[in-house]
């Protein structure tokens, strides 16, 4: 019977140390999330400026650029999946991967060949375990993406898009998690290339003329400089939003884990007490019955 008690005590101790870890992870995530959201807002002005310029160009109807018109010479499609490097974030990575699988299935159904680009160790682990071909992957900074990494990813994707013939890709999709607020993060699929300028198209009053831009040195050169930057800015924004979402998901998951650990500790404490009382009761009844046997 004493063995029973010892088992419960050991379980309580290990759950307590787990709880400490969960709590620490929760606090770490909570402290980083502020920084991640700051970064999202810091990248905002750049993205807005680029988007405004790009949509102004689009509004002129002069936009006839290889980044804006769909390619027809290839059936290959690139999909970039943005997941996390570490677990302990609930269903965060699993959700993104599931959404990607759905997208891949849909694209395959349309007769397209999917080329995978991955960001985040969890995604890499998922695909290497299933021995699926991955074109390229980036790992190591999913919770604090740097401009350099975003540039690297964008360069790889743009390069694939610009490669001529059947070697290139005709479309680039990004699956990431949009940070709506602390409790809601939405898995989002976005087509990055060819560019559809959706956000930031300013509504102009009827009769108000759009500014007729002069291009320096010429429209093609300007678009050549502008559109890759647009893609880079969008991609960087995707990474930052994913990072913020990851941290929010982690904080929530770790909070739940801490609560569960507390519940477990409570249950085990009760069981241990029961075992202790049972032991005492048994000892007493043994003594009493022994004394009774002697007395009779």
């Amino acid at each position: 019977m004493a063995g029973q008690q010892r088992v419960y005590k050991a379980r309580i101790r290990s759950t307590q140390s787990l709880k400490k870890m969960f709590r620490a992870q929760e606090l770490i995530a909570a402290s980083r999330i502020g920084k991640a959201r700051d970064r999202v807002s810091h990248a905002g002005p750049y993205a807005r400026a680029v988007t405004r310029a790009a949509s102004a160009v689009q509004a002129h109807g002069r936009a006839d650029h290889r980044f804006l018109t769909p390619r027809t010479d290839t059936q290959r499609v690139a999909v970039l999946l943005v997941a996390s490097d570490r677990g302990m974030a609930g269903a965060y990575s699993a959700t993104v991967i599931r959404e990607t699988e759905r997208l891949v299935a849909k694209l395959r159904g349309e007769g397209k060949e999917v080329v995978l680009y991955l960001a985040g160790r969890r995604a890499v682990a998922y695909y290497t375990f299933r021995q699926r071909a991955v074109e390229r992957s980036w790992t190591g900074q999913s919770d604090a993406p740097q401009v350099g990494t975003a540039d690297e990813i964008a360069t790889a994707l743009l390069e694939a898009y610009e490669r001529p013939g059947s070697e290139g890709v005709g479309e680039v999709h990004v699956v990431y998690t949009r940070f709506v607020n602390m409790v809601t993060q939405r898995t989002t699929v976005e087509r990055m290339l060819p560019i559809e300028l959706v956000e930031g198209v300013e509504e102009r009053a009827q009769g108000q003329a759009l500014p007729l831009y002069e291009y320096e040195p010429d429209p093609v050169t300007v678009l050549d400089a502008l559109l890759p930057r647009y893609v880079r800015a969008r991609l960087y924004a995707c990474l930052l939003e994913s990072a913020a979402s990851e941290l929010a998901a982690r904080q929530r998951a770790m909070h739940t884990a801490t609560d569960n650990a507390e519940d477990l500790i409570r249950t085990y404490t009760r069981l241990a007490n029961q075992a202790r009382q049972g032991e005492i009761t048994q000892e007493i009844s043994e003594i009493v019955s022994g004394a009774d046997a002697l007395a009779s």
Binding site: A43, A53, V57, V222, Y236
Partner: protein, 92 residues
Amino acid sequence: MAELEVDIVATDGKVWSGTARQVTAPAADGEIGVLAGHTPLLSVLRPGEVRVTPAGGGAPERWTVEGGFLSVDSDHVTVVVDAATPVAPAAR
């Protein structure tokens, strides 16, 4: 005198914003100076130096930039650059 609304933004945040009398930037075909009332313009920037003369006069603010582009739209100037480092007053 009319003034320009200027925003200078880099990839990782806003560098400078405010009103200015003149903006000078290294455009593709050579240095370009923008004053109030400029026609709408979209220009590629080469690596070089961007100078902004504040509305109140005084010494211009200067940055070394890595290339980007410049847009002018009804006295609103947006300079979008990949990276900008301020030129220290001592280095002038």
